[in-house]
């Protein structure tokens, strides 16, 4: 479903320094897999996720999404993106549109569905994330957790084959984290292919098929949650886990 080969990403800072955000990242994520990417801040995990959606353009290497090489300039990236949902740390809802219009918009504009079809689908999804009663309010009137659930519904409205989550609970108040994680867990149970960058170790243990640990732009260690949390092999992983657990 997702494959990266020798992926490199180099940022050039304002004063000309080079920062290696990704160093030779090779991953293979199969259909229906839930992969949790963890690591200290600045380890490149968000950059990796953003590269998968071409929001960040990789400097070198290959990325295949559902068999399409997205670094090939000849492909229509919008088509690929329509099949890959993304949920952001800061929700990024459209503040000038009501909740249901947030969910409707891409269905209407990208999928060219009729108004009735859009609204039917949107209400279905809002019900699924448990926020149907707020369909007509504006994002600013919602709590962070509610906004994030709307953002998930908005991404799901495109019928994506893959969902990418970029620290979806990091900007939330502690009591709201649960409601968002519940939605993500139910998605995982339905067999959605998911790549999740998060600091929620509980979620990783419970839901992930595989945990990937990144540091300084490279993958240090990966494995099942059992392996990863109970007997990590790498010293860097052990240090990280001892700091956060």
């Amino acid at each position: 479903m997702i494959k990266t080969e020798n992926l490199y990403k180099t940022f050039i800072t304002a004063n000309g320094d080079k920062v290696n955000a990704l160093v030779d990242v090779n991953t293979q994520i199969d259909k229906g897999e839930v992969v949790v990417v963890i690591g200290p801040s600045g380890s490149g995990k968000s950059t990796y996720l953003r590269c998968l959606n071409h929001l960040e353009v990789a400097t070198k290497g290959h990325i295949w999404i559902d068999g399409v090489d997205i670094l090939d300039l000849k492909i229509n990236i919008n088509k690929v993106r329509a099949e890959v949902g993304m949920v952001f740390q800061s929700f990024n809802l459209f503040p000038h549109k009501s909740v249901i219009d947030n969910v409707n918009l891409a269905q209407k504009v990208v999928r060219k569905k009729s108004k009735e079809e859009c609204e039917k689908k949107s209400m279905e999804l809002l019900e699924k994330v448990g926020i149907a009663e707020k369909a007509n309010v504006f994002p600013a009137q919602l709590s962070g957790g509610q906004q994030q659930r709307v953002a998930i519904a908005r991404a799901l409205a495109m019928h994506p084959k893959i969902m990418l989550f970029d620290e979806p609970t990091s900007a939330l108040d502690p009591e709201m984290i649960g409601e968002v994680l519940d939605v993500m867990k139910s998605l995982a149970k339905e067999g959605m292919t998911m790549v999740v960058v998060t600091h929620e170790m509980g979620f990783a243990k419970e839901v992930a098929n595989r945990v990937v640990f990144m540091d300084e732009g490279a993958i240090v260690e990966e494995g099942t949650p059992e392996h990863f949390f109970e007997n990590p092999t790498h010293d860097r992983t052990k240090l990280f886990l001892s700091q956060i657990l």
Partner: protein, 336 residues
């Protein structure tokens, strides 16, 4: 009084004293000014002004042939006077309210006044206001259009669009509007009208070259306003819409512009206040807008003080609603 924060406390006595000081200052200034004008023997003649807003102009009806008044009939609120000459006969009509100067059987010579009537008409200053409004409205609309295209071009990744917008903005902002109006009128107008004449079309009037100069001038400023409005939209929203598969044009249309336009309304309205005032320069290319009309009014009335004050107040009346509008939307935007 508004509730104020602890940082801006002022005691009521000081407040009232200062307010009284302000009002006294204004009255004193006006008094000193009026006394000064008396000292140089200026006679204020405000009564001359209404005629420059609205006049009842007297129209003469003159005979075009020599002959005898054959009949005078009143029908459907119009009076018809028929003059019969040697071989031909002419009919003249005027409104019922008009006054006849001839009776049936009178001998008429060519050029004699048969009747007079009055017709209400807009005065010089009213016409000036209308022209100023016309020029300002057209220039604002075209200016917005240019600015919108310019602003989007300015942030485009395509270097041709981007550099075209940069060069346009820098050229326009870097030279005086007066010079630009001269270039439009004495260079572009000469060329374009010359070509139109050669091809057998009508000339385009000076007013439209004035509108063009103002539009392109305002357009450059609107370009920068639009650019800053677009850049003020959080990049996260753009990423979110692109991650849903929208093209950059769809993202611009559905996400960025609707929000940017709301944010740029106050500076945009400010730009149009400037534009209304700048339209006063068009008098120099013979567009009879408010300032030019005022100058003509002074030539005929010889009352410059009254006219210049009235002119300034009329501009204020045109710009004031816009600045009220700016304040209204700025207030509305502060409260979520």
């Amino acid at each position: 009084m508004k509730t104020s924060s602890g940082l801006s406390r002022i005691n009521p006595f000081t407040y009232n004293l200062s307010m009284a000081g302000f009002i006294i200052g204004v009255i004193a200034f006006i008094t000193v000014f009026i006394v000064a004008t008396k000292a140089i023997d200026y006679t204020w003649r405000w009564y001359k002004l209404p005629g420059y807003f609205y006049t009842n102009k007297t129209h003469d009806i003159d005979a075009e042939i020599k002959g005898i008044v054959e009949s005078i009939t009143t029908k459907d609120k119009t009076i018809s006077i028929v003059v019969k000459g040697n071989s031909e006969s002419e009919t003249y009509t005027l409104p019922e309210s008009g006054s006849k100067r001839v009776s049936i059987g009178d001998n008429i010579y060519q050029g004699d006044t048969l009747a007079q009537y009055k017709k209400p008409q807009l005065g010089l200053l009213s016409q000036g206001i209308l022209i100023t409004l016309e020029v300002s409205i057209y220039s604002s609309l075209i200016g917005i259009l240019i600015g919108l295209i310019g602003g989007i071009a300015r942030i485009s990744k395509n270097p041709a669009f981007k550099w075209a917008a940069i060069v346009y903005v820098e050229l326009i902002r870097g030279s005086p509007l007066l010079v630009q109006i001269f270039i439009w009128y004495f260079v572009f107008a000469t060329i374009i009208n010359g070509m139109l004449m050669n091809m057998g079309f009508h000339e385009i009037s000076a007013l439209w070259y004035g509108v063009a100069a103002l539009s392109f001038f305002a357009g450059a400023y609107v370009t920068e306003i639009v650019r800053s409005g677009i850049e003020s939209i959080n990049i996260g929203q753009i990423e979110a819409s692109r991650s849903l598969g929208m093209t950059s044009a769809q993202c611009m249309y559905h996400i960025v512009l609707p929000q940017a336009i709301r944010r740029i309304l106050p500076p945009l309205a400010g730009q149009f206040i400037t534009l209304i005032k700048d339209s006063s320069l068009l008098g120099i290319i013979a567009v009879r807008e408010l300032t030019k009309a005022t100058r003509e009014g002074i030539t005929t009335s010889l009352q410059p003080y009254e006219f210049w004050f009235v002119c300034a107040i009329l501009y204020l009346l045109l710009t004031f609603p816009l600045s009220m509008f700016v304040q209204y939307i700025e207030r509305r935007m502060k409260t979520p």
